[in-house]
């Protein structure tokens, strides 16, 4: 009972982070048909920027805000300067570009911030509660993680569903040519999409970093988990990404708790293979046209 509860709660918390990361991937995939492999190092850079600010004496929340804002700027700049020239070209160009960006950001972060392990503070306690005899493996930071990811998701859903900007972003993603005719500045919509995705990615970076160690490759395993979560949900569906993230978080937590922590990465790849083999469109794909 104790272990089941602990692994479930840990899985839920981790799943929220994967969900956020997957959501960032899905936001970019939907609008530009690009898998942004550089999502993790972009988040890493913003987290390290935040750490500089915090180390300089600023409160945690200032650092938090700085990370999100620098994510916004970084996402916009990456789209406008690097991605724009390869948009609408062969898919492989964008894949190589984001992989290249992955490596470049790693190297630059190493040069600027150093390759050492540095500890990143957490705004809330990192120990669980006790309810009677039961240890509840839900930390203050864990609760914060769940709440902030839910808030961000609700905000994004509201943006896309209820605002004019969201409608135009959806229109631009569905059919850029027609959207242009209707006066939608499609290029700007894509920039905003990348910027928002990078903010969500930065948030995932901050949540992974909280109370733990950061270094240029601390986000790299999340690339795999976030990608698996996004594929699980179908890459095209924001809701799918969130559910996929939660399912993956729970599954990996059970694997880690009952089978051994060393099997986690293996398990995530097995899940990826199973999904791609059995339901290549993701768990939530309706039976769609099949390419023969």
């Amino acid at each position: 009972m104790q272990q089941l509860l602990s692994t479930t709660l840990t899985g839920l918390t981790l799943g929220m982070v994967y969900a956020a990361f997957a959501l960032a991937l899905v936001l970019i995939w939907r609008s530009t048909r690009i898998v942004n492999f550089a999502q993790a190092p972009m988040a890493m850079v913003t987290t390290l920027v935040a750490l500089q600010v915090i180390d300089a004496g600023a409160p945690y929340w200032v650092g938090f805000l700085v990370a999100l804002v620098s994510g916004l700027v970084l996402g916009a700049v990456v789209e406008r300067v690097l991605v724009r020239p390869v948009e609408g070209k062969a898919e492989i160009n964008a894949v190589i570009l984001t992989l290249g960006l992955f490596i470049v950001l790693h190297a630059v972060a190493g040069l600027v911030f150093g390759n050492d392990y540095q500890s990143f503070p957490a705004p809330f306690g990192l120990s669980g509660f006790r309810v009677g005899d039961l240890n509840v493996a839900l930390t203050g930071f864990g609760i914060f993680t769940i709440v902030i990811v839910l808030v961000v998701m609700a905000a994004l859903a509201a943006l896309f569903r209820f605002t004019d900007l969201g409608l135009r972003m959806r229109a631009a993603a569905f059919n850029p040519e027609v959207s242009r005719l209707l006066g939608v500045p499609v290029g700007r919509m894509l920039t905003i999409g990348w910027a928002l995705a990078a903010v969500v990615g930065s948030l995932a970076g901050l949540l992974i970093a909280g109370g733990s160690l950061v270094y240029p490759s601390y986000m790299d395993s999340v690339v795999v988990f976030g990608f698996v979560a996004a594929v699980l949900g179908g890459l095209d569906s924001p809701v799918g990404a969130v559910v996929g993230g939660l399912l993956l978080g729970l599954a990996l937590s059970y694997v880690s708790g009952y089978l051994g922590a060393q099997l986690v990465t293996l398990a995530s790849l097995v899940i990826l293979m199973l999904v791609l083999t059995l339901r290549p469109g993701g768990l939530f794909s309706s039976a769609s046209a099949r390419r023969v």
């Binding site: 605002t163 209707l182 006066g183 700007r188």
Partner: protein
Amino acid sequence: MPHAPAFAMNGVTVRFGGITALDAVDLEVPRGRVLGVIGPNGAGKTTLFNVACGFVTPAEGSVRRDGQPLTGLKPHHLPRHRMARTLQGLGLFERVSVLENVMVGADRTATSGFLSSLLALPRSAADERRLRERALTTLDELGIADYADRVPGSLPYAIRKRVALARALVGEPELLLLDEPASGLSDEEMESLGDLILACRERMSVMLVEHHMDLVMRVCDSIVVLDFGRVIAHGTPDEVREDPAVLAAYLGDEVDRTAAEVPR
């Protein structure tokens, strides 16, 4: 320039590689009039429309709107110039409701930038309400308000064509470009489309590409006939009907084919 036409092309030439798709095309759409563009398949009608809406930049010649040259016209400038275009393929957003489809087109004054859109949500909410009302009014005018909450994919073709038209009209354009608005419509539906186009003339000028001669002859004030990228005739429907060059290039083709079929 008080009497400048709503839209004019002068010497517009477009080349794709070695092929000349449009060769020194001149045309005018006077204010409040309907200009029809006809011609056999491959005559350059679609290219002409693509020049008019900025998808294609002509190699030579100029495009003018109310006498002002539209240099460097891009598709997303259309609403700014009070122009709207419908597409042959409709191009509706399939997974978005009919109302929202029309709302995207309603956003002529969408100048709110990145930060203002993100930060000034209350103002956006007011904008949003206004857009929604304008879109609903337009749907109502076209008699399809009942379908506002449906997605286009679930609707009959004639209704979807009306949605596409509503999306073009909702921005209150002064120049409407209609690309084969009658294709796929029944005679009855074509009849009411004709009424609609004639009613539009009070508020805007119209340029239309169309194959259905009945409709073209009924609604157009003047007609331009294209063949192999050149204007081979222009005039009123009656003048064009009688023009020997048109009969040879366009209708004559049909006559030959019918004649060839008779012996069987």
